[in-house]
């Protein structure tokens, strides 16, 4: 039985993530309760807005150690993924150091924030099963640098991590909950992980 917990720490729009699971026929709970999060089969760590503000909300919930010690599949989305990295220039803010890479601001001749659909080149990971070069919806001004843990690459004048993985922890810079069929497939793939 899949039980999805969406971590609620007052940083972002969790409703659209919950709707996305509902469309897949999966019930999810939005919670900041540590035992409820620990019991879930799959955990979503969402986030939009400013990294510094999100991090201080996260500190207030006292969930940082809980998140770091989770053993089930955990998916960080957008700012959630960025907060799982070593640090981010936004703030600057120290991250949870799950992903061994840094988040930096786009320094390109293109428009920032980068808004829209972009193709993701996947690097042989079950999260991207049947999803090579599909387009996903992005909205961001900061990006995670490419590292050995990069499992999906996108490019915006420079190449960056569209997705990261370290053991049971996964992260995507884009919004699978608003990425049409490709997003649904990715969430389905995530739910198959154990």
């Amino acid at each position: 039985m899949k039980q999805v917990a969406i971590i609620d720490y007052g940083a972002g729009n969790v409703q659209s993530v919950q709707f996305a699971f509902e469309r897949l026929g999966i019930q999810s709970v939005v919670t900041s309760d540590s035992s409820e999060i620990q019991r879930a089969s799959h955990v979503i760590f969402p986030g939009v807005g400013h990294a510094k503000a999100a991090k201080s909300h996260l500190i207030e919930t006292g969930l940082i150690d809980v998140i770091k010690s989770l053993n089930q599949p955990v998916l960080g989305i957008c700012l959630g993924m960025q907060l799982l990295c070593n640090q981010t220039e936004e703030g600057p803010t120290k991250g949870l150091q799950i992903f061994d890479t840094s988040v930096v601001k786009f320094d390109v001749d293109l428009k920032v924030p980068a808004v829209g659909w972009a193709p993701v080149k996947s690097i042989n990971h079950p999260l991207f099963e049947r999803l090579d070069n599909e387009q996903f919806y992005f909205v961001h001004s900061y990006y995670a640098e490419v590292s050995e843990q990069t499992i999906g690459l996108a490019d915006y004048q420079i190449s960056y991590s569209a997705a990261l993985a370290n053991k049971n922890f996964l992260g995507v810079q884009f919004h699978p909950e608003r990425s049409g069929k490709a997003g649904e497939q990715l969430l389905t793939n995530f739910l198959k992980l154990s």
């Binding site: 409703q15 709707f19 469309r23 428009k111 924030p113 808004v115 659909w117 387009q135 049409g180």
Partner: protein, 250 residues
């Protein structure tokens, strides 16, 4: 690289889509939930809902409707019309809306732009600007185009960008409804002047108009209503056409 976005816009009044629609496979063509879901399946990259009766009427059926649409939709969802406070933004985001669009309320009180951007992030704020070219100057208009303002398009666009707008939705009132093409020159200048994404609106009549706006100006998205509602242009065909012109689309 990021694809150019194609965005259908639905005008909502009393919980129904206005500007008639004629998708043959819909039981109720005026039902915004059915329409939204249909557009999502037909390849739209995003959906914009404008509550055109927001200011003159009570909120009524609008918010429950928004919730139903957000539930169905698997693409980004922008809502505009009568948004004057961060409380209102908060309430819409909690219903599953991804971005809000503000227009008249930003002109009346420009601080609203900064307030929304600071509280929720620029990524969820679209500033919509309606303008008309009068004696060589693009004048900003509000209240659904009824009221002429002292503001000029380009300086107003720069101001809202500096205040934290995440995207601009520019509608040329001179081109809106004409089906004679987008306001290319103004859009080209606008995309030179500000460094945030721009959604072009007003004037779409043919597939060529879409390729023209993407090739001749640095806009990021094109929005239209009636050409999509009346199936004069199918989004899938439009995207095939744009691909044939080497324009990256989804």
């Amino acid at each position: 690289m990021i694809s150019k976005r194609i965005i259908p816009c639905l005008d909502i009044k009393d919980g129904r889509t206005v500007k008639g629609v004629n998708f043959v496979d819909l039981k109720d063509a005026g039902d915004p939930v059915a329409l939204a879901s249909s557009y999502s399946k037909r390849g739209a990259d995003e959906l914009v809902f404008l509550d055109i009766s927001a200011t003159e009427e009570g909120r009524g059926a609008f918010e429950p409707l928004i919730y139903e649409v957000a539930k169905t939709l698997s693409i980004p969802f922008t809502v505009g019309g009568g948004i004057r406070s961060t409380d209102k933004v908060s309430s819409l985001l909690q219903k599953g809306v991804d971005k809000v669009a503000i227009n008249s309320s930003a002109v009346q009180r420009p601080e609203l732009v900064s307030e929304i951007a600071n509280k929720f992030g620029s990524q969820c704020l679209v500033v919509a600007i309606d303008a008309k070219c009068i004696e060589g100057t693009w004048r900003v208009h509000t209240v659904g185009g009824k009221q002429s303002e002292a503001l000029e398009l380009f300086s107003w666009a720069e101001e809202v960008t500096n205040r934290g707008a995440g995207e601009l939705l520019f509608t040329s009132m001179d081109h809106d409804g004409t089906k004679a093409g987008f306001a290319i020159e103004a859009l080209a200048e606008l995309s030179d002047r500000v460094n945030i994404p721009i959604i072009a609106s007003g004037g779409a009549g043919t597939k060529e108009h879409f390729s023209e706006v993407f090739l001749k100006s640095n806009v990021d998205a094109a929005l239209a209503a009636s050409v999509f509602h009346f199936s004069e242009i199918e989004i899938a065909d439009l995207k095939d056409y744009l691909r044939s012109k080497n324009i990256l689309v989804r």
